[in-house]
Amino acid sequence: MEAPPVTMMPVTGGTINMMEYLLQGSVLDQSLESLLHRLRGLCDNMEPETFLDHEMVFLLKGQQASPFVLRARCSMDKTGTPWHLRYLGQPEMGDKNRHALVRNCVDIATSENLTDFLMEMGFRMDHEFVAKGHVFRKGIMKIVVYKIFRILVPGNTDSIEPLSLSYLVELSVVAPAGQDVVSDDMRNFAEQLKPLVHLEKIDPKRLM
């Protein structure tokens, strides 16, 4: 019952901007096992971790041309975990030599009434999907291999179907801005996964 150690207000100004460094690739279903096998060997020793998440993407439309996008994610298999709210900024276009896609990211853990709250703020759900897969770690790098499922009836996560015959592979690091050495480390790790999977910097704008 003692006073909490921080009795002054937490400093909210001057927070460090975190960036997400990302490399993506994919493997066909039949190659999944070999990839998982190699990842188990290369990555940090830990219990194999699988996940089943439901992600909803919300948009807030204003007078600006592009709406504000927020991603709300909750675990479908682990009860009691907080919801995860994520903001991802536009990819930084600077250095063509940089090996990974870099974008501003803000990650927030929230209580379970997140979707109600976002609706109250004026956000509307644009689309949702279920992601099922495996997660590995190597130091600060996170490697996720997952399959995306389309939700057939909005809001009903029991009736889902796979979106494709492949698994999406993402190698990401969340680090403070300006740490370009991170993308070099990522590229080196990605080399070790060839030829099973080719991880590269994919600019989302070029796909649209």
Partner: protein, 204 residues
């Protein structure tokens, strides 16, 4: 449960804290609860024609890693401290009414199973009122301990003991959560904001 009192703010705070110390309460550091107001920017409301909404983002030193966001009569979101960073990103859609920032700072006392926080409520440079928060720690259902809380409050607040807060009329038996505390602070701050500059005795 916060309560507002009047007269000269500084003196009343001293009277209250002296009474608490006489009772045997131990001083245990300081506390701070603050509340910022955001309103939806005109640009988002254009096509919908609804009135702009007010969103309150609050912090409580009792929960230093959390941020509370609430709408009046609406849901209360409990998030981690990064929520403030998100609000900065959202500044095109939600504007911070900086002049409306209100906070309560003061001393935290522990008396057996009770936690009492007496704070001076300030808006900008001026002191606008007093908040008294009393928490009975072992109990999580409001209805079960309301009478005990009342009795305890009477011992140092006398006639200024408040009645049962309005939000408990609907949910006597549900488990109490920090969101409920923040909602009560929000109501108190709103009440104080509407009062005149010179605080008048107001009871919740």
């Amino acid at each position: 449960m916060p309560v507002a009192e009047g007269k000269s703010v500084q003196q009343t705070v001293e009277i209250l804290t002296r009474k608490l110390e006489l009772l045997g309460a131990e001083k245990q550091g300081t506390f701070c609860v603050d509340c910022e107001t955001y309103h939806t920017a005109a640009s988002t409301m254009g096509n919908q024609g609804q009135a702009g909404k007010l969103m309150y983002v609050m912090h409580n030193s009792e929960y230093p890693l959390s941020c509370f966001a609430l709408f009046e009569n609406g849901p209360c979101l409990i998030a981690d401290a990064n929520f403030d960073v998100l609000m900065v990103k959202l500044k095109g859609f939600f504007q911070n009414a900086k002049a409306n920032k209100i906070e309560s700072r003061g001393t935290r006392y522990q008396y057996c199973d009770f936690l009492v926080k007496v704070g001076t409520v300030t808006m900008g440079p001026s002191a606008r009122g007093i908040s008294v928060e009393v928490e009975y720690c072992p109990c999580v259902v409001a209805n079960d301990c309301w009478n005990l809380l009342m009795e305890f409050m009477q011992s140092f607040m006398g006639n200024h003991t408040p009645g049962i807060p309005s939000m408990f009329s609907n949910k006597h038996d549900s488990i109490y959560s920090p969101g409920d505390t923040m909602a009560q602070y929000m109501e108190l701050f709103n009440k104080i904001r509407k009062q005149q500059q010179v605080p008048v005795a107001g009871i919740r």
